[in-house]
Amino acid sequence: MTPAFVVRRIGFYTVICAITLFFAVPMLWIASAPFDASPGLGVRWPDWTLENFRKTLSHPYALHSMVNSLLICITTAVAVTAFAALASYALSRVRIPGRDALLYGLLLLSSVVTGTAAMVPIFVMMFQLGLIDSRFGVALVMTGGLLPAAIFILKDFVDAVPKSYEESARVFGASTLQILRDVVLPVARPGLATILVWAFVNSWGNFLVPFLLIRSIDKQPGAVLLQTFTDEGGSANLSVIPVFSLLFSIPVVVLYLLVNSRYGFRFHGGIKS
């Protein structure tokens, strides 16, 4: 071990520590504040209590907004998965005229039309359709936005399923429906699960769409409600915000860990899964 080597090692670990701290320190607050008897915006060793949880759970809209989030996100995730599954199978296996152009168009759309660039027409459209303040409307808009990317990821999955599975079933006389039910669907299950979780996580964290489209506080999902917690004086309600933040993050983290342990974290470029 030369001195230069030692110096390099020390430098290496210093950099690693600095990066780790950069990522860890901002998160400390959500680990300490929820359990602190007098929560503030600072990080400190908490004065342990569960009082904040009691306060949060008795907040008139806190649990309600979680239910709203669940409603919106489950609807979105199921719709995205079902429609993307059908579309990606057809696109992967059947030579539909204009397929390549369609795929190219979808790829462009999914990156070009973003929530922020289309917020005005979406707002106006939903307004004129009478879907303002509708949780179903929020789910529809989210589904439309997530579908192109979902079709792409799933088509990748379906493309990777060997065609010999279907051919084999076909040689043995299985009908199209039997092939889809007995072979394709079970084989594609990891892909479907990934998309389901991906769509759920994405819509769970989506702030802009419900923020634009929902007016009544009793219909707001957690992502929006969290922004509006204030106490009687109008300043941020610090006994509710940290706990709610923590509770609201749990589903996302749990789902991520689940997919990661069950199917391994497959890198779909840019896709949280």
Partner: protein, 312 residues
Amino acid sequence: MATPPESVPVPPVPGRPARVRGPAQDVAGLGIGRAVGFLAPALLLIGAFLVFPAIWTIYIGITNYRLTGVEAVSPSIVGLSNYTRALNDALFHNALWLTLLFVLGSAIIGQNILGFALAWTMRRARPAVRRTVEALVLLAWILPSTVVAYLWIAFFDRDTGTLNSILGTQGTAWLIDYPMVCLVLFNTWRGTAFSMMLYSSALQAVPPSQLESARMVGASGWQTLRDIVFPHIRGHVLTNTLLISLWTANDFSPFLLTKGGPNHESETVPVYIYNVALQGGELGYSSAISFLLLIANLLVALLYLRLLRRRS
């Protein structure tokens, strides 16, 4: 729409299994009719909630449509006057400039470099270290944006904020005094995971034998990076830079931290569109700006797709 920034398909990373040989065909006997039926629901939803709004932006952008008042009921066509107004709008210029700073600082420099540094150093780190660091970086990426916004508001807080405690600068209102610096730090923290993962898999594709050859001839770490690694991952660097730039330019989360303030000092284009449209009620004008953003997105996306094609 609901597509949050991190959801654009990325080119297949080298190392994937090759596609099965032979022409694509209808192995299950679905038939074109049923295939179109399978596609229809998805295409309808995409058409209604993605394509139609994008096209409608063009129309609203040439009207004086407003959220309230007479123009809300019967808007009239005003031609290109919204666009000429944008040309002379100091606040729009300000938003463009801030967006550029935001993209340059947090995406092109911040996420790119930090992501690559993480991918490069974690490659040979001990598994425990690697797992911990990667988990933290990923956590920053998957947490809901509203929650993340609170984390950073707390971190930057004037009185008890963690940053002030660390630096001993109690009383510095970071989000008010240095809003853009805060946003750049925040977005670097939030988005580095993507670059890290993309570069990790890109680095796996660099043949170890070439790295070993470089070591055999005594190349320094920097020489190895420049002469061996970079030529291999040049395509990934471009892809990554284009994608994260696109997402950062369209990111709405600055709104959650600063709402564009103080005094428009952190008002990036997306936040500006929101403020003009729903605070100011000028739907026509904000649509014109949205359309400009769409065009900018389209240009970047086309550039990206061209690169993809050339590589494949």
